[in-house]
């Protein structure tokens, strides 16, 4: 019988309205007792004095890169990076090599995660075979193998009819489609947000409409079919407005945004042409950033996901237009989100924790940690008092591509507990 006693911390469980200094006893993967002054000399003891103890964070959008791109990240390194970021569950997108578009690949990911992973890994299967936007994947088999949702992330399903059919077919299996919204004829070969900054730098721009057109399409398809849809990585004000409109109509639309859209704008892309700022969708304007924060505050945007996208340095150490898009985000997600939302006074800490754990878990129907007897002992112990400077070169992730190095942050996870065990990373 494995026992862990977390004592001295402030327990926050947004799903239970809990915000109190309490000790937590975990036994065999579950929380067994919550109370003041607990004493169990036979339990492993974890001192959380001065810290916050919360449900482990849940990321419903990341790239672990394995199989196929192990030089960028592996399930072992990616899940350790996730654990360091306070995540206890992560959902990995299917744009691996081969693409996770069949049960065999799904099973391989799950088995590797079981053997080498530091946190829980839930694969997301492709919507179409090879993410080619044509033939549907075998949704039933993907689900049976362990996929928790479907997405062609990294690419949109260009053809509206195929997307409609995919959403309809998947709904029959209780599977949700996660849409990477990008009209590729509009995004074309752009490498940053289309606006003043792209003009100043002579870089081809990606208009906000490239994202918004497809957000509108997915909402309309979901309305037509009466099925749910989840919008990935919202980056524009227009997308927030569209989701708000969809929800007001009663459409089953949910949406996520990413920490980098809460903190960064296209002003970060400068004459230095720092490719760590290149991400898809691109960093937008201050007006977009503010609208996204507002969307999180009022619940239009349901949750925060990292879109953790590690790349090798050789893929970033090139011309801006040639560089691959993506930010390595596990290890900065909590700190950046806290800065943008809590430290800035937009919301209280429990609400942020909800946006990063309980709510994303609900969207994909995943188990989530909690602080009450019987709850899963997936917890994160966080320090939200000691300032630090973000240093991407010290990331556990193989990808050090993160444009926020040097930022002063205050929140970080110190211990991550999965199933009652403190994760070593």
């Amino acid at each position: 019988m494995k026992k862990l006693l977390i004592h001295g911390g402030t327990a926050i469980d947004p799903s239970r309205g809990l915000y109190e200094k309490l000790d937590i006893l975990c036994v065999d993967g579950k929380v067994s007792e919550v109370g003041k002054g607990l004493s169990y000399p036979d339990a492993e003891s974890l001192d959380a004095t001065g810290m916050v103890v919360a449900p482990g964070l849940v990321d419903i959008h990341c790239h672990l890169r394995e199989p196929g791109y192990e030089y960028k990240e592996t399930i072992a390194t990616g899940t350790r990076a996730a654990a360091r970021g306070g995540f206890t569950s992560v959902c990995c997108m299917p744009n691996t090599k081969p693409v996770n578009d069949c049960a065999a690949v799904t099973r391989q990911i799950i088995e590797t995660a079981r053997a080498a992973g530091a946190v829980r890994v839930y694969p997301i299967g492709a919507i179409t075979k090879g993410e080619a936007g044509k033939e549907l994947t075998e949704v039933g088999e993907l689900k049976a193998a362990g996929c928790v949702a479907l997405s062609d992330d990294g690419k949109p399903v260009d053809d509206s009819r195929r997307m409609m059919l995919a959403m309809e077919y998947a709904a029959g299996f209780g599977m949700k489609c996660i849409s990477h919204c990008e009209d590729r004829s509009l995004a074309a070969d752009g490498s940053m947000h289309r606006g003043l900054q792209s003009t100043l730098l002579g870089l081809r721009g990606i208009p906000a409409a490239a994202e918004e057109i497809m957000v509108a399409r997915e909402i309309l398809l979901a309305r037509e079919l009466h099925v749910p849809v989840h919008i990935a990585h919202i980056s524009t004000k227009g997308s927030v407005e569209l989701v708000r409109w969809g929800k007001a109509m009663g459409v089953q639309v949910t949406a996520e945004t990413c920490p980098h859209y809460l903190v960064g704008t296209d002003a970060l892309v400068t004459e230095i042409y720092d490719t760590s700022t290149k991400v898809n969708p691109p960093l937008r304007t201050e007006e977009d950033r503010e609208a996204i924060v507002e969307g999180l505050v009022d619940g239009t945007i349901d949750c925060i996901a990292t879109d953790h996208a590690p790349h090798h340095i050789d893929e970033k150490n090139v011309e801006y237009a040639s560089a691959l898009s993506g930010i390595s985000g596990f290890e900065s997600a909590l700190g950046l989100s806290y800065e943008a939302l809590v430290a800035s006074g937009h919301m209280e800490l429990p609400r942020l924790l909800e946006l990063m754990s309980v709510r994303p878990a609900q969207i994909l129907n995943l188990p989530v940690g909690g602080i009450a007897p019987g709850a899963i002992a997936d917890l994160a112990v966080m320090d939200i008092q000691t300032p630090y400077v973000l240093d991407p070169s010290q990331f556990i992730s193989k990808g050090h591509n993160n444009p926020f190095g040097g930022m002063k942050l205050t929140a970080r996870s110190v211990y991550t507990i999965v199933g009652g065990n403190t994760v070593e990373y």
Binding site: R194, Y273, N317, A321
Partner: protein, 308 residues
């Protein structure tokens, strides 16, 4: 006085004093160019490499002749027929040239920011000879030199730049340089060929070529490429010429004695009518001469960095 900078990547951050220094030096260099013995010792013992990832005749030749007139050791690299074609990265190419003791690298590249990335990783000075849609500083300097020769100064001039502004690094560099020197810049062209958020730039923008050209001191036509039509940006070269092309009637709306300029290579009968391209107001060939002088000046000033 010398330039304190290591590189010339664009005119956006170049001061009026620096531009004046370059143009003054270029004026001296021009005397050298017009003498019977063009050889000087300004760059003796310096090695200069042109690294061109895009085709170019005049810019490359201009840099090459400029460096040879000044006795530099000059070499050329084209992307095809070099290790670039074997997949070498830009940074590695830069480091290789550094290791060979290169003093200046002149780079042209189809991607904006490539010279900036190179500059960050090399000891050698970098001169941007055109990067993507970003900047082409020596072109704008040669344009300014040509204007200054004719008008005695740049302050208060009205310069109309007409055509494919969106893809034009020449238009951007001229905007920065000319406005820094106190000239007024007007951009005109079809809206599909204007950069996003142009209204926030220090230029006046108009749909109407006539408005741009009216009372201008300089009319600059930009090259329009056939691909723009295929890309759906303009319907036809025929309509382009009739609405946006610079012809005698439009040029006549500018100030008497206004200059007609073109960065070349020209599409005669498209962005500029042949008769005026070869007419009295055209300084298109004078621009080319200024180009050699300006490049001599820039290379000289950058290689003497730190000296007084």
């Amino acid at each position: 006085m010398m330039l304190a900078r290591k590189d010339l990547l664009g005119l956006r951050d170049v001061s009026a004093q620096e531009i004046t220094l370059i143009l003054d030096t270029a004026a001296q260099m021009k005397h050298l160019l017009s003498s019977s013995n063009k050889k000087s010792n300004h760059l003796t013992g310096k090695s200069i490499v042109t690294l061109f990832y895009e085709n170019s005749t005049r810019t490359r030749m201009s840099f090459e002749l400029a460096s040879k007139y000044m006795s530099a050791v000059a070499a050329n690299i084209s992307a095809s027929g070099s290790s670039v074609a074997k997949g070498e990265t830009l940074i590695d190419t830069g480091r290789t040239l550094d290791a060979m003791g290169t003093d200046l690298i002149i780079i042209r590249h189809p991607m904006s920011g490539a010279p900036h990335i190179l500059a960050k990783h090399t000891r050698a000075g970098i001169i941007n000879a055109g990067d993507g849609m970003n900047e082409h500083p020596t072109q704008a300097l040669l344009d300014m030199m040509t204007m200054r020769e004719h008008f005695g100064g740049l302050e208060g001039l009205k310069v109309a730049i007409v055509g494919d502004i969106l893809h034009s690094r020449v238009a951007r560099s001229n905007m920065w340089g000319l406005t820094t020197m106190g000239a007024k810049v007007v951009w005109a062209g079809p809206r599909t060929l204007m950069p996003p958020a142009s209204d926030k730039l220090p230029v006046e923008c108009t749909d109407c070529v006539e408005d741009a050209v009216r009372q201008a001191d300089v009319v600059m036509a930009l090259r329009i490429q056939q691909e723009r039509m295929e890309g759906g940006l303009i319907p036809s070269l025929r309509e382009y010429h009739s609405v946006y092309g610079i012809n005698a009637e439009r040029l006549a709306m500018a100030k008497p004695g206004a200059l007609l300029m073109h960065p070349g290579p020209m599409n005669r009968g498209v962005e500029v009518a042949s008769n005026i391209a070869d007419g009295d107001q055209s300084v298109i060939n004078a621009q080319v001469t200024s180009g050699v002088a300006v490049r001599m000046a820039v290379m000289f000033l950058l290689t003497r960095r730190g000296e007084r």
